[in-house]
């Protein structure tokens, strides 16, 4: 608690809700999400934008929340893992596909992995395996060897398309 801390007000849209919080200028988005909103699904691992565990979507695009200053998200839309399921608890097809394909073990990379997948499928709803590998290369998983994650993304892509066709 250094003396005379200066607090700013941050206003943004978090998982579809308009929110406001006090924060300090040096706080990262991950710190604001975890410490000020108690949204602990955003995981912190490498802290150098290498592992992808802290991936969240800002206006639909993936960013590393561990190094992204919270200041950068003022008046923007932030989607975290807590905003993926429907309000009634129904899982997003990507989440369900990760369960169905056993696409995680310890689960520490999973929130970031799922959000990166969402960004991928939003941009490219029918990715080839090579597209998946290229897009997801910034997300590390130390448990699964990636095989099951690729399968989960393929399953999710099929499912998302089905749902969109109605």
């Amino acid at each position: 608690m250094s003396e005379a801390r200066e607090y700013l007000i941050l206003h943004f849209n978090l998982n579809g809700r308009s929110v406001e919080t006090q924060y300090e200028a040096q706080e990262t988005l991950a710190e604001v999400l975890r410490d000020r909103f108690n949204l602990n699904g955003t995981k912190i691992s490498c802290e150098v934008e290498v592992c992808g565990a802290c991936t969240v979507l800002v206006d639909g695009l993936p960013v590393s929340a561990c190094t992204h200053l919270a200041y950068e998200v003022r008046d923007r839309n932030v989607l975290t893992i807590e905003g993926m399921a429907k309000p009634d608890g129904t899982l997003h097809p990507i989440q369900q596909a990760f369960i169905d394909e056993f696409a995680f073990q310890c689960g520490f990379c999973t929130p970031g992995m799922i959000l990166a997948t969402k960004a991928l499928l939003d941009e490219n709803p029918r990715p080839e395996e090579a597209d998946i590998i290229h897009y997801m290369d910034g997300n590390i998983c130390r448990c699964t060897g990636y095989v099951s994650i690729v399968r989960a993304i393929q399953r999710a892509a099929t499912q998302v398309q089905k749902e969109e066709r109605g």
Binding site: S2, S45, E47, F102, Q105, C143, T144
Partner: protein, 764 residues
């Protein structure tokens, strides 16, 4: 358990979805980093800038008086505590006392209202050092006149995990030595038809559990409560009891979900320091390390192995001799056991009549080494499985055939006095080899390898559990094992659901809280499915026995007239579910039955190892001769698991381990330049990524129900790592004719080796 081989399974041997699935895909799964306690303060650590130095003075006054700082803990503040810990050798001070032994060693910790304040205060701690000469590898450390890292004598820890003596603390830098031998090695080499002999190197590697070490401690009149990312809460509890001089009943370790372990979170890490912080600050304190700090906390032993292996004229392996130097860093941690294990693991998977292995684990002024997935097996399998291919090349035999002709057979006592081999390596090798199309012609620039390993796994068999059947028929399992991602929260309830004949959904676990869950030695060495699995199976059966007696009482018949059916009992026309038995017995829709089990070193578990962990892996690689880059084309695994309680989870363990091993084979290595770790961040330490995925992967399970675990199960999840570095080296030899004997086979190393080999050819 062989009497039940005909049994049909309802829950077990099915890939039921993970119990932790929903929590983990919604971000609700709680790890220690997510836990906050009321009034919690935060600690940050000041680390040594010297590899070896005497601490002349520490002045923490300026740091302690900063606003928001609650306490500073240094080696001068530990009066009242027993500050040295270590389950094998009590050589490790919870914070540096009098001297530092590696760059990055904790010298002080600041406790403050928030992490940033604690971090900012670190630079106000003034430490004066007198630098000492450092030793950085076993050769330097064992040289005449080498400076000693540890001057004290040590107590050997009772929980060190092996029966032999501890070498540390005898006035040298030797931490542990291990020697095994049988037959007459010299005579066998003298009459051999062919011998290969060389030195091999397995690098220092970082397990990179994505959740770095984190713990929260609270110390008050009730004792010490710690939330930790530890794999072995009961082992940590033991160290904390000795530090505080408190009885077991006053130490509580709680382990929520663990964000990856791979051995790196086994045994005690930061828990002593965070408890000392909480003790001094009189507040709950959280200490969360960064990945950079985790890299300064634990690594794998690197190992230099000289090995020679001999065959007779019929291609039978007749002798193997090895001398291993393991670089164990500044503190013993689990390296004495790693040393013992790697010594044993030089032998398998082959039945060799003449053996002599000498292994030396040596203190150096580097980051402490400890367990890494497979306990020393990967280190020596780099040598062993390279050498089999070298022998095959020398005698003009297919390396796959050479392995088939020499692997230990099921039931064979290939390692004197140990449990006879309980797997089927021929089947493992066959499946792995087929996965990479062993017999098919290869394109130019491609190479293949198939390797295998067996490990004396399962650690020491000491596990207990409680299975509680409630009056509504639902079940709670009290289980000491932790959930690291390996699936213990799924596999263990599957076994209980199978035994009690109740739906999987109705069986829940209460896990890894030492105040509540019965003693379980550890969650490592692939032991949980086998030992905790067997414990919950026996506890379920004990609960059933009790409910049969209750049913007899309720139905006013003799016990032997009661027949156990799926989910209840039957007696003539009368059928009762467990819920009906309990409700009628107690006269209320309440109450429960408590089934218990204690597993110890007796009966099926009298002979060690608990099981032999066996697997085979095979690869096909391509190599770009212009850049030296190796690409994994095909990967096959065959896990010899006895019975897969959950096949999808067992396969997941194998591919995960094989991928980690591939990382060591291709690029993973912690690099020291002098005393300084040069690539101590994830920016510079390269781990496998999506783009390293082999183009084709085949996962096989071998299920002969030959283990001592439930329904014949054995453990898995380590063995698929062991042969991978050798596989890469062997396949490179196949592709190019160039043999590299040190991992990782980075593009630069491969390019240089190829250039040298091709250059020499041109000259000649």
């Amino acid at each position: 358990m062989s009497a039940e081989k005909g049994r049909e399974f309802h829950v077990v041997n099915h890939s039921v979805p993970r119990r932790d699935g929903r929590a983990k895909v919604t971000g609700q799964a709680v790890y220690v980093s997510d836990v906050k306690l009321m009034g919690m303060a935060y600690a940050k650590v000041l680390r040594s800038p010297y590899a070896h130095a005497r601490i002349l003075s520490i002045n923490a006054g300026r740091a302690a008086s900063r606003p928001g700082v609650i306490a500073v803990v240094t080696g001068n503040d530990l009066e009242g505590l027993n500050p040295y810990f270590g389950h094998a050798v009590k050589d490790h001070p919870l914070v540096a006392i009098d001297k530092v032994r590696y760059i990055g060693e904790p010298v002080a910790a600041v406790v403050a209202e928030d992490e940033r304040t604690a971090y900012e205060a670190l630079e106000f701690i003034e430490v004066q050092y007198e630098e000492l000469k450092a030793v950085l590898n076993p050769q330097e450390a064992l040289a005449q006149g080498a400076p000693l890292l540890h001057e004290r004598k040590f107590e050997a820890g009772a929980l060190r995990g092996f029966e032999g003596k501890v070498t540390a603390g005898r006035g040298t830098n030797l931490c542990q030595e291990a020697h095994i031998g049988w037959g007459d090695v010299e005579a066998a080499f003298a009459k051999a038809a062919a011998v290969v002999e060389a030195e091999y190197y397995f690098p220092m590697v970082y397990a990179y559990a994505m959740e770095p070490y984190v713990a929260i401690a609270e110390v008050n009149e009730n004792g010490v409560t710690i939330y930790s990312s530890a794999q072995h809460p009961f082992m940590v509890r033991h160290d904390i009891t000795t530090i505080f001089g408190l009885p077991v009943s006053q130490i509580r370790l709680i382990v929520p979900f663990v964000g990856g372990g791979y051995g790196s979170k086994s045994y005690t890490k930061i828990e002593p320091l965070v408890s000392a912080c909480a003790w001094k600050a009189k507040r709950p304190v959280k200490l969360r390390l960064s990945v950079e700090e985790a890299m300064l906390t634990t690594r794998s032993d690197d190992a230099l192995t000289w090995m020679r292996t001999a065959v007779d004229a019929n291609g039978k392996i007749i002798a193997r001799q090895a001398k291993i130097y393991m670089n164990t860093g500044a503190y013993a941690e689990n390296s004495p056991l790693v040393c013992e294990k790697s010594t044993n693991r030089c032998v398998g998977p082959y039945a060799i009549p003449n053996i002599k292995i000498d292994n030396y684990s040596v203190y150096t002024n580097t980051v402490p080494a400890s367990s890494y997935r497979g306990f020393g097996c990967a280190q020596v399998t780099m040598a062993g499985e390279s050498q089999i291919d070298e022998l095959a090349a020398k005698i003009g035999k297919d390396p796959y055939e050479l392995r088939l002709a020499n692997v230990a057979q099921g039931g064979q006592e290939f390692f004197p006095k140990m449990r006879p081999f309980d797997g089927n390596l021929k089947e493992d090798l066959d499946l792995a080899a087929k996965s990479v199309r062993w017999k098919d012609p290869l394109p130019k620039g491609h190479g293949r390898s198939v390797g295998c390993s067996v490990s004396d796994a399962g650690a020491y068999p000491l596990t207990s559990t409680v299975v509680r059947v409630h009056a509504d028929g639902s079940v709670s399992i009290m289980m000491g094992s932790t959930e690291l991602g390996q699936g213990s929260h799924t596999v263990i309830p599957q076994i209980v659901a199978e035994e009690l004949g109740v739906p999987f959904e109705s069986v829940r676990v209460v896990a890894s809280d030492t105040a509540i869950t019965p003693y379980d030695r550890s969650t490592g060495a692939s032991r949980t499915t086998t030992l905790m699995g067997r414990a919950v199976l026996e506890a379920s059966r004990e609960a059933i026995d009790q409910m049969v007696r209750m049913a007899a009482d309720v139905l006013k018949v003799k016990e032997k007239e009661i027949e156990v059916t799926r989910g209840g009992v039957q007696c003539g026309e009368a059928r009762l579910t467990w819920s009906e038995v309990l409700t009628r017995y107690y006269g209320l829709p309440g109450g429960e039955v408590i089934g218990r089990a204690y597993i110890r070193k007796s009966g099926d578990f009298a002979q060690l190892p608990v099981f032999w962990e066996a697997a085979s892996t095979a690869v096909e690689i391509s190599v770009d001769e212009d850049t030296g880059r190796i690409r994994m084309e095909r990967l096959g695994t065959a896990g010899d698991v006895g019975l897969a309680i959950n096949p999808a989870l067992a396969e997941g363990q194998d591919i995960g381990a094989a991928t980690m091993g591939m990382g060591v084979g291709l690029f993973e290595e912690l690099i020291y330049d002098g005393p300084q770790l040069m690539n101590g961040s994830l920016l510079e330490y390269r781990v496998p990524r999506f783009s390293d995925l082999p183009r084709e992967v085949h996962l096989n399970l071998v299920q002969n129900r030959d283990g001592v675990g439930p329904y014949g199960a054995k453990g898995g999840g380590e063995a698929s790592l062991n042969a991978m570095a050798a596989n890469v080296a062997n396949a490179l030899y196949g592709a190019t004719g160039v043999r590299i004997r040190s991992a990782p086979l980075t593009p630069e190393k491969v390019w240089r080796a190829l250039k040298e080999a091709r250059g020499e050819k041109k000259k000649s």
